[in-house]
Amino acid sequence: MIPAKFEYMKVSSVGEAVDLLEKHGFDAKILSGGHSLLPAMKLRLNRPEVLIDITGISGMDSITEQGDEIVIGANCTHSQLLRSELVQKQVNILAQAADTVGDVQVRNKGTIGGSLAHADPSADYPAVVLACDAVIVAEGKNGSREIAATDFFEGIFTTTLNDDEIITAIRFPKIAKGNYQKFYQSASRFAVVGVAVVRDGDSVKVGVTGVSDTPYRATAVEEAYAGNGDAAEHAVDDIEVMSDHFADVEYRSHLAKVMVKRALEA
């Protein structure tokens, strides 16, 4: 439980962080809450030579209302999200999900930016950003760009972020009605299955995490729902379902349907 040697730098601006990322390339890692990165480093599964701590960048932990959107700084911790009145009122589903993340210590340190960048296939937020059609704001050497949540996740622990980019904020549309259902894994308490359902008039948007190595929008569910079909039955249509000793393919597929049903009925 002792990481390999590394150098630690704390930056005070996004520009500084991007410069360092460019300079050190693969040897560098961004550090925010450290609750995914540090455990991996302690097991020496990950051994960056340089850690760039971005938690000191001012303004990156703010939650603001900007027109029709709620803009959440990437450094906001899980605790901040679940306690924020703005989030509770305007993107309640995000507060619901934040409340299920880990334990108090994890929620007090871990950040939404870190969670999204890490792209753990069992993390909670991916389902929510997908269902909300949130936008991830990233900044790199070529400036700032916006990535639609549906274009963000690429696979297990991989995203479409460039190596020199950091997530600075996540933009959420205001969500009137949404529900997050999580079936947690008994040991880690990560999601075996997490389902986020956002309602928009008569249609729904459904984000699913934990089921496949990449979180996904359950479009088959959304279509069936629109057509008044048995929507939940389509939770894993065309999806390659993961398997482990807590949930094999059959059981995980079943759970996905149950959680979709519960989120739709909530």
Partner: protein
Amino acid sequence: MGNYVGKPVKRREDARFLKGAGTYTDDIKLRKMTQSAFVRSPYAHAKILNIDTSEAKKAEGVVAVFTAQDGCGEFGVPCGWQVDFKNGETMREPKHPLLAKDKIRHVGEAVAIVIAESLELARDAAELVSVDYEELPAVTDPKKAMDKDAPLVHDDWKDNAAFDWCIGNDRAEVEAALEKAHHVTEMEFRNQRLAPNAMEPRSYIADYDVNGDKWTLYTSTQNPHLIRLLMCAFALGIPEQKVRVVSKDVGGGFGSKVYHYTEECLVTWASKEIGRPVKWTSDRSEAFLTDAQGRDHVVKSKMGFDKDGKIVAHLTDEYCAMGAYLSTFAPAIPTYLHGTLFQGVYTTPLIHLNVTAPFTHTVPVDAYRGAGRPEATYLLERIVSKGAREMGIDPTEIRFKNFIPPFDGVEQEGYQTQVALQYDSGNYEGVLKKGLEMLGYEDFRKEQSEARKNGKLIGVGFSTYIEGCGIAPSAVVGALGARAGLYEVGQVRVQPTGKVSVFTGSHSHGQGHETVFAQFVADKLGIPMDDIEIEHGDTDQVAFGMGTYGSRSLSVGGSAIMKSIDKILEKGAKIAAHKLEAAEEDLDYAEGKWTVKGTDKSVSFGDVSLTAYVPHDYPEGLEPGLDFSSFYDPANFTYPFGTHIAVVEVDADTGRVMLNRFIAVDDVGNIMNPMIVDGQIHGGVAQGVGQALLEEVVYDEGGQMITGSYMDYAMPRADDLPMIETANTVTPCPHNPLGVKGAGEAGTIGSTPAVVNAVVDALAHLGVTDIQMPLKPQTVWKAMQN
């Protein structure tokens, strides 16, 4: 009753624990101390082709790197219990080397130790040791280990058996009775392997002092004297009187810190080699891979009943894993701590248990909280409940039908079982009756049938257990293969001021001895608790000791102290008589003073103590001083018992089990401190529920542990448990002076089958008859689908 015994006195040790001010081994930092790291095998079974330490030796801050090619290669740690084969063949006892030399036998087995100026440097250098392995096929399942073509763990023998063993009545007789039985219930299951998970990982510091040619070993162990004996006499061959073993604050053990481990022996050896203190502290990953684990039985069982539901015979065959080597007490666990409890609380007239104990390519298995008794209780309480259901008898009724009738062990004789032991005293129906009252059984059954109509799955499960604690006497356990005695030592040293130091060979690693022992000593001497200090965990302070495990501290260790107090009072009376110019027979001792009967002439304990050390005006011929030591070797085990009741709800969609109520009625004999007994029961129940619902060590086909961290090994958490409803009945132990039986393991032993019985009860109408532990949501859901 005095001022303290029987009261929920707050724990004196908690002030330092709660403030983070305890002194655990890893907190100790010595001058010139080095740190160490182990190079461990990533394979379960492999040949070691080559170990190259040259790069590591050159690395920054490295003091030394040792492999089995160095002097330590000749040493191994011993096993403390011998169980020979049924046919007389001696137990197969492979050398358990401090470092693997030619062959690896489980993932995590150490091949080298790297000693450096800091922990960071030791870890860095350990990565530079390069080992060439040739991977071999492995076997981790105890039953498969006995297959004809199973890979051999030790090449010296033709198969993997370490020994086999049986107990009870003649097998043929039991089989014949089963043939004739009105009904036979059968079960096949695995009592899964568990990781002990003490909060404080193992930690050792060995400090060799060149000047005196002496060693001090600081170790997080449950029995410092035994470690010293095993290490000096049987492992390293160093003079015992030159070794001091210190084990002060220890953060939990649950059995896993009873044993003498290779790491502890190796740092002791290495400290002399380099002439500096060497520390090693396990990290959590190493703890999963190297702390001796628990359970791991593959069980096949039959129980026969007559038409009224009376048990007529019980036959069980088991494969019980030993792991790669024989850990200190490993052979005793599935045998003398397991088979001897197959009578349970029932009058079963014919019992036979057959055990095959194979080596497997896994970390060794040894005692884990309950040690053999949870496995026995799980089997008995599941199969009795299963039989009841098959025969259409209520699970409580079948128990009442079969209970051994109450006996106190004084007026009525102890109960002679079919499996060697004689129970001391018991009232098994009493605890079940009390539990049923607390539950409100009839109301529950009504609620259950209502709930079923609404698709809600709720169930209740019962477990009426017995267990054996304070295993003894020494002569008997010696005959059964123990290579140690199982007495305890208690020394009471009255200081000249009348303050008292008590030295106990028992060890506290969370139990609260500093409080409970002081309570009864204070009452017996009639002095304030504040005048009493309890010392343990240092071989230089305490004459000898057998340590703490098997819920033995109060019944064995406490009794030894009681014996010494008797000697103190006897000698004190002589001094008091002299001072009061009265005859000893005319004195009464109460409330800390000797009084001449019928007068107000008295002398206090403090005055007598001072006189003993300043013996100016003193009885002729009497030695000065007031300090006695006693060895107490019990006449028998003690037998706590109880009823545990679980009420569960199963989520019909997902299979997740919610434990809604848990009732524990335990009879642990006399109760010194009800708060501490409750605490022991709570913790034990949490671990028992952990086995029922959550915990399991899983190895894959190649012998990799796939549950080697808390990401995959599910521990019970506060929100997995309801408020535990506890109650007690009191049936004193007739054969020890405190009348106590032991409470350390009861919670773990009683709870597991109650939970599983409850889940099966909740799902019975769906045709579910058995579910394999742990009752993971997936497992329960699948059982419901069939």
